[in-house]
Symmetry: C2
Subunit: 352 residues, 2 copies
């Protein structure tokens, strides 16, 4: 008997600025908790650009990508929650769904958690993905009424929409809240949509890019502040009775964005932050105490949020599909990275 | 016509370790927004001890005390919310109730706010108190069913009970929360009672003092951790499936208490802090990001909380009167300070 090895195409990180599509062996089930997903849609994330730009280390040869949806092609014998043929979406972190952290909703910090693309795991930007801990990691999507538009609305649940929602949750956005969103990338725009869904009465989006500001308005921004830094904070104060906003959603992660956040937020307000911090100065506890400003943030526990957000996406109430400003095939993914790196596109959708 | 000056007794700070009762002119209404309150109960606060111990500066000659209740003796012509004869309680900060911060509940940070005892204002530890911005600052208490016990249950609203509640609010305590309280002083014990009221399912009190621990159990603590620092954190983890608690209420304000707080709190949990920070190191944003731990705290906006908490106090559902472990007359107040300084008493009630 011959053993026939099949091949698929996957995106491999070859060092800063170097993204390649290579043929690699098709994934096969290695453990009973695994599933193989045939990817129908995946995308490029702003956080992939940290590697692409050489600002964060990633080993050469790693598979890349952590946002995908597709059809289950095979499952291990221990998998209970998804079946062959199911349409599924995956969060950007692999989690078991059963550890103490997962049970309190902190799936991003799963004790047995893994990242896509590293340590021998497939990345999301490829034709197929072997998915460990499939019961905790894959979420079935009803196939009825599924079309290209709905697929584009669902895929952001895997990261940017869950992350924008997390920023809003960390900042305590609720009915009647006044909100300022710092960052007009995909996450910031999703944070606008999430804030609207949570009932915010006023949503200020800081954006100096007309196209992104327009999209922000479509998603629910009530005011666009076309300024940066201290001037943005000054304008936000002027719009809020010199009080500042209840909730700042910091979706950038730079020292400047944090400075703006503290300039915008009112006494007793909250800064929810989801931008991975890069050289952000430590926060003075006395300063927090003298202002009652709360700070909370992290990578989102997308697996925890997906079941909560999905019904509203399916019902058409939460639609951020327009963040995908370009659609490409897998063979063009290097160009997709270039486009995002140059901020020509907000987010690039890839159809393997 | 002769002008008859009457005198009252008030507590004057004469420098670290020196508390004196002196005769001073009776207060009179100077502005239409003021009221004169004849004090029936007041008390000594743990925060008064910062001055007493010389750890925080207070000008010699300042009146002292910021927790009192009593009967309205006179009102200015602009006062609408209280009338002569009303029984009232006051928060520990004077606030107008109408500025933008007050309107969002941040009365502690009132734009026109003042502190008792400084800048020519009476302190709470005296026979009478001229109260500016009386409409924002005084809260009428129904006189029916009022007795010594109920008065002792209401007085803590002015500071320690509102502060304990604030710690719980900042940490997001709710139904089913697991909570750890750091600090077994009056505020910590009130934080236990506030957490129970908010529906916490498990309340760990860190206390190495048997009498305080017993009171904590009466107020709702489900577990006493009779240890300090890293050992306390270790025991708390052992009690919570190695997860840590949802909410830490930090009621001390030292670097050690903060270290313990971060040792106790779970991934994605919250530290609510109300201990005035003394030499607490700055907090790393990257550390927060990598744990999803939220931090929020300040002095409590007691004027905001009093209307919410008072009904439960009146209904007997929220009774922290037992924090007053000693009752003295005004002439013995210096001894009351000594007793609290030596931690012989949890909190000393003063009947002028």
């Amino acid at each position: 008997m011959e053993c026939l090895v099949r091949y698929m195409r996957a995106t491999i990180f070859q060092g800063p600025g170097k993204i390649e599509v290579q043929e690699v062996p098709d994934p096969v089930i290695k453990n009973p908790d695994e599933a193989i997903v045939k990817v129908s849609y995946c995308c490029i994330c702003g956080s992939d650009l940290w590697y692409y730009r050489g600002l964060t280390h990633l080993d050469v040869g790693n598979h890349i990508g952590h946002e995908f949806m597709g059809t289950v092609e095979a499952v291990g014998e221990g998998v209970r929650n998804v079946r062959v043929g199911d349409l599924v979406v995956a969060p950007f972190v692999i989690s078991d769904g059963t550890c103490p952290e997962c049970r309190v909703g902190m799936t991003r910090f799963c004790r047995n958690g893994r990242f896509w693309g590293t340590g021998g795991y497939d990345g999301g930007q490829g034709e197929k993905v072997r998915t460990p801990m499939a019961d905790g990691t894959l979420f079935a999507i009803p196939k009825s009424r599924m079309d290209d538009h709905m697929m584009r609305a669902i895929l952001p649940l895997s990261d940017v929409l869950s992350t924008g929602h997390h920023a809003a949750m960390c900042a305590g956005v609720g009915k009647g809240s006044t909100v300022a969103v710092i960052g007009d990338g995909a996450v910031g725009l999703c944070a606008v949509a999430a804030s609207k869904r949570l009932g915010a009465s006023r949503i200020l989006l800081i954006s100096t890019h007309e196209d992104r500001a327009e999209l922000g308005e479509r998603f629910g921004a009530t005011d666009i502040i076309a300024a940066r830094g201290d001037e943005a904070a000054r304008q936000a104060k002027a719009l809020t009775n010199e009080l500042g906003v209840d909730c700042v959603l910091e979706c950038v992660g730079t020292a400047g964005a944090w400075r703006t956040a503290f300039g915008l937020v009112r006494i007793g307000g909250n800064v929810g932050f989801v931008g991975v911090p890069h050289d952000v100065p430590d926060v003075s506890v006395s300063r927090l105490f003298s202002t009652d400003i709360g700070v909370k943030g992290s990578g989102a526990s997308a697996a925890h949020y997906i079941p909560e957000l999905m019904p509203d996406v399916l019902a058409g109430k939460l639609d951020v599909s327009a963040i995908f400003t370009k659609t490409i095939s897998l063979s063009d993914i290097a160009e997709g990275y270039r486009n995002m790196d140059e901020r020509k596109e907000i987010k690039v959708l890839v159809k393997p």
